[in-house]
Symmetry: C2
Subunit: 173 residues, 2 copies
């Protein structure tokens, strides 16, 4: 790494906050992700970036499917925190939240979500620690109007921390 690299610059990049879900046969899982973006308009495609250590990575790799639930700004940390700081290998993260099965059979979180999206993976890049999955949107639904929760709001107003598996984790010097 160049000595010129000031990590503070990365804090100026803007993101939302989402629960990305997938399934592996009958097992369901989801995790907090800040890197969900639309990458093309025609066809409508989205990308998500997932750490290879995460159970959701294993499920998306196998099923080639993922769901996205867009969190609302008023979603409390006690609601979505467990999706970010616990592994689905230890706890059933879906057991305490309201969700439904989408057309892809991925779970979609209906509580504290503004909208829902499902995608089929059409391409992916190995980024070293993470994989970027590119998916064709196959289903989407607006649940309600409202302000989406942003990563900035989470860090500034909720004093939220960043998991070390996040692509935007900044190592402490």
């Amino acid at each position: 790494m160049s000595p010129e690299l000031n990590r503070k610059v990365f804090d100026d990049l803007s993101y939302g906050l989402y629960i990305v879900t997938s399934r592996n046969e009958d097992r369901l899982n989801g995790q907090i992700v800040n890197t969900v973006i639309q990458v093309t308009s025609a066809p409508p495609r989205v990308a998500v970036i997932i750490n290879k250590k995460n159970l959701t990575h294993e499920y998306i790799s196998k099923s080639k499917l993922f769901g996205v639930s867009v969190l609302e700004e008023s979603a409390p940390f006690t609601f979505f925190g467990p999706f970010g700081f616990r592994s689905g290998r230890e706890v059933d993260k879906l057991s305490k939240v309201q969700f439904k099965e989408g057309v892809t059979r991925c779970p979609l979180i209906t509580e504290h979500s503004l909208s829902l999206l499902e995608a089929k993976v059409v391409d992916q890049i190995d980024l070293g620690t993470h994989t970027i999955f590119i998916g064709d949107a196959v289903n989407s639904e607006v649940l309600k109007e409202g302000s989406p929760l942003t990563y900035q709001y989470y860090r500034e107003n909720m004093k939220g921390k960043t998991h070390q598996n996040s692509p935007t984790y900044a190592p402490v010097k």
Copy 2:
């Protein structure tokens, strides 16, 4: 496209607003991009998504280099608008703004920017209409403290429109 696909969902995804630059020998160019994200922390890597029709796409493809200037919230539309709605094939977009040459020799906009970043392309995916370029961050600099301009702020407070070459352009039905 599935009849179930509600495009309004894509409006709930959050982005910043950036000027992404590149160079082709002595020619410089830049354009507005909302899809700049950090994709890994170790090493620090960023991704940008650029429409194949754009001159910046040609320059990044040839030079394998790009610069990112993070716009501040108070940046006026009259300043950055020309970067979004004019082509560098018709006008020299850098002629009316303050910029400097980075270590990669990409131009970096120093006016109305919070911070600057330069990257060397290490991988890319063809997304059809767009390409996602993955770059190792090789230089970064914070110019000042402040709130970054978000895509939401641009659309809601500045009544900003989306260029049809944007990955998040929503076709009018």
